[in-house]
Amino acid sequence: MTNTLHRFGDAGSFYDDYVVFAIPSRGKNDKGSVPKLKKFLEMALPFKPVNLGDAIHGGALRPCQKMNPTAHWKRDLTPDFQAVIDGVDAPTTVAAVFDNRVAAEDFVKAVKQADLGMCINVSTSIDGAEQCCHAAGIPRHSVGYSLGFEGKTEKLPNSQVLMLTTMCGHGMISTSLAKKMIDWVKEGRRTPEQAVTYMARFCSCGVYNPARARRILEDARTKIR
């Protein structure tokens, strides 16, 4: 699962994008990991994450299987963090997403203190992750670099659409939906906040960053890059 590695953008564009995730390794530290994974997510709450998620049940913004038709006029846009925590019922990857470095650093410090024994990773710009480790006094163990997209890149959409879609590395947010949301924000049919929640509901592991997506949509409102 490289679902957070290949987010499109330059290093500067990740200033509001810090994904910290915990993953149990099969056969190594997965037994009895569920309470530890729940604790990891609970520990994130005081640092005001913009999303939480688990790779089986999804993020804090989820689709509704029995939607009331009145929801078209009063849709709830509030992320439900507690539902994510309560929903963890098997060893899986869990993630907390932050929109600033200070929160990510403080969370990494807290995770170090808690000594959960889970494998912990920080996905952001290379410098951003180094700073998180430095602040917590942890030497990095391993690093996985993204070399970006190659091959038939002519099949890819423009950079703003790519930035929106690649925040769900599993590819659940379609190019067409992201383009449509940019258009709707430009037309004034929806606010960036509403458009972001539509997209975030398709992310099946909760690593989508609504704060960064809002910023990209605001930018796309006035200029297409």
């Binding site: 987010r7 330059d10 078209h72 990773n121 996905s123 163990h141 690093v143 890149t153 959409p157 590819g171």
Partner: protein, 281 residues
């Protein structure tokens, strides 16, 4: 995936949410239809759309009335008003489409959700990539393009010829019938998936050679490729071996996934370390 024509009201919402663009309104039947050849069974439509359970006849009648007076309802774009999606029981080999495309389904070969790989994310307990080694993740079809297995085989064949070691705990490796030759099962070559990752490991000294090989092969592959390179840091947390090679090759390193080394082996009995498949050199 199928769409029940008795329920579909042709609102068109689902045509936008399909990552492969495989859903369209068929003008002959005036219903949303799935192009089965292009559908990768990712279930984004089924899992991602909220569902109302409205009466299809009522909705169709209202839509017709609105159309007659040139009015358009502005509904939420992530809703199927009549819960018209009907997942099928998938059989082999079509079922591999879902295994590689629906991130909620764990890969049987590795037990991991998503694309089924742990890479360096668990390197602090798995020891998958050691000092002096480089782990490559060569990912096909992402973002939003998809890939056929016969395209992936072009790469695995070329890598095998170069004598690399395929990661054993990887879903693509588990589908190889001839690992030293990089050959995949014949019966899946005609299947399309959202994305898949080929994982290999080589000594650091071969980093540039492998990247240049990938560049050569990707010219023959009809999709996009996302390349990832994983390696160990030294005892001070520094990584001054692989990054300089990549930068010399012209890569501007922007983003990385950093394993911060807090993992511990906590399972009661440690499993025997498995060697990568294929021939290492």
């Amino acid at each position: 995936m199928r769409i029940n024509p008795d329920k579909c009201v042709a609102c068109g919402n689902c045509t936008y949410v399909c990552p492969m663009g495989a859903i369209y309104i068929d003008p002959a039947i005036k219903r949303a239809t799935v192009d089965r050849n292009e559908c990768v069974e990712c279930y984004a439509c089924f899992h991602g759309l909220s569902q109302e359970h409205l009466n299809p006849t009522l909705v169709r009648t209202l839509r017709k009335l609105f159309q007659m007076v040139r009015l358009r309802f502005d509904p939420e774009p992530d809703v199927c008003p009549t819960a018209a999606f009907a997942p099928e029981d998938l059989e082999w080999p079509r079922v591999v489409r879902r295994a590689f495309s629906d991130p909620r389904v764990p890969h049987e070969s590795t037990g991991v959700q998503g694309r089924g790989t742990e890479e360096v994310k668990t390197n602090d307990v798995s020891g998958r990539v050691q000092m002096g080694e480089v782990g490559f993740t060569i990912e096909f079809g992402r973002p939003g393009v998809g890939v056929w297995f016969h395209e992936i085989q072009k790469m695995t064949g070329a890598l095998a010829k170069a004598g690399v070691a395929f990661e054993k705990k990887n879903p693509i490796t588990s589908l190889m019938t001839d690992v030293p030759a990089g050959k995949l099962r014949e019966d899946i070559l005609g299947e399309k998936i959202l994305s898949a990752i080929v994982e290999i490991k080589v000594p650091v000294a071969r980093t540039e050679e492998i990247i240049r090989l990938v560049h050569e092969v990707e010219k023959q592959v009809d999709t996009v490729i996302a390349l990832g390179v994983g390696t160990r840091c030294d005892k001070d947390g520094e990584e001054n071996v692989v990054a300089p090679i990549l930068e010399r090759m012209g890569y501007k390193l922007e983003r990385a996934k950093t394993n911060i080394g807090l993992g511990r082996i906590t399972n009661p009995a440690e499993e025997k370390k498995e060697e990568p498949a294929g021939v290492a050199r």
